[in-house]
Symmetry: D2
Subunit: 105 residues, 4 copies
């Protein structure tokens, strides 16, 4: 998973400033922040609809779409999956898990 998300984030970085006609990612990044945010909302809704439907393949498809667009947003913000990893580790990592087991996020 590491390799997949980290590699994908690297590919997304290469799309910054690329010809919008060259790829979907380049087009998203060229369109700007609001367009990426609309996709976050869309994909989250599609994940909700898929999960109510129940077909595992559809759920995986929509969850992957949501994470992919999150990576594009992070790239657009000068951030990356390592920042998410660090945040999650701080909350739920070894000591974090012990400390916070009974607490909400």
């Amino acid at each position: 998973l590491d390799d997949v998300l980290a590699n994908l984030a690297r590919v997304i970085e290469t799309r910054k400033g690329a010809d919008p006609a060259s790829s979907y990612t380049a087009r998203l990044l060229a369109d700007g922040r609001d367009g990426i945010l609309k996709k976050i909302g869309e994909e989250a809704t599609e994940l909700v609809i898929a999960a109510k439907g129940g077909a595992p393949a559809a759920i995986v498809h929509e969850a992957a779409d949501l994470w992919y667009h999150t990576l594009v947003l992070l790239a657009d913000c000068g951030l990356g999956p390592r920042d998410i990893a660090r945040e999650l580790e701080g909350r739920y990592g070894q000591s974090g898990l012990a400390e916070k087991a009974g607490r909400g996020p």
Copy 2:
């Protein structure tokens, strides 16, 4: 990120059937699918709001929340982060990236 997400998914699995009072994750899983889906919608909206605000720490916080709740949803559906990795690799992995460079998701 691999270890973080895989470890987190393992911890979430151990919360299935646990006393809802023992942790936030156990409570979410005990409440059921609709409650988890509401959180997906909420966290996606909070990510949009944070990204419009622009503070990197808030964006990382909300993206981590969104991914954590996606992991809880996957667990509730009998799925896991490996399924997302496989899907993304199929789409954007080595050969996938070459083939699909010019296409949308």
Copy 3:
């Protein structure tokens, strides 16, 4: 407002079963429930983005889009704006307002 929403709901009703090529509403209704729900999620996100941006015309535009798609959803469910009016009146109407002034929804 009454006339506008009630008239719009009536027009939407006439689009049920109409040739999908004849109007956007006919196409939405022909595509089915999930397509309409995707639009609810999309328009809600666009309203959030517009409200963070702050331009009144954009906020009005997106709020109108959200309400229009809500009316299409209601029509698809065999419901209409009168049902929403009755619900809101029950909660916030004359006696409702007096009774519930201090309570949440």
Copy 4:
């Protein structure tokens, strides 16, 4: 619906600057724009979930929640339901409907 929405908008206006402890609406308005926007995202997601579930009473309940929170947002932006009515009438009103029958929003 006119009277209901217009009256409700008037009541919401009176909650501006009121003691947050006095009502749910006063608390929402005191908390500020981002809190209202989170509710828009939440209620839209709850409407999607309810509509996938199919129970008419739940759909009406969530649609009413979504519209109520839209009215609170409009009030927070110095706007009101008349602005939405005017927008919808311009798009779908008598002449609008004739002109735009074949076009999307």
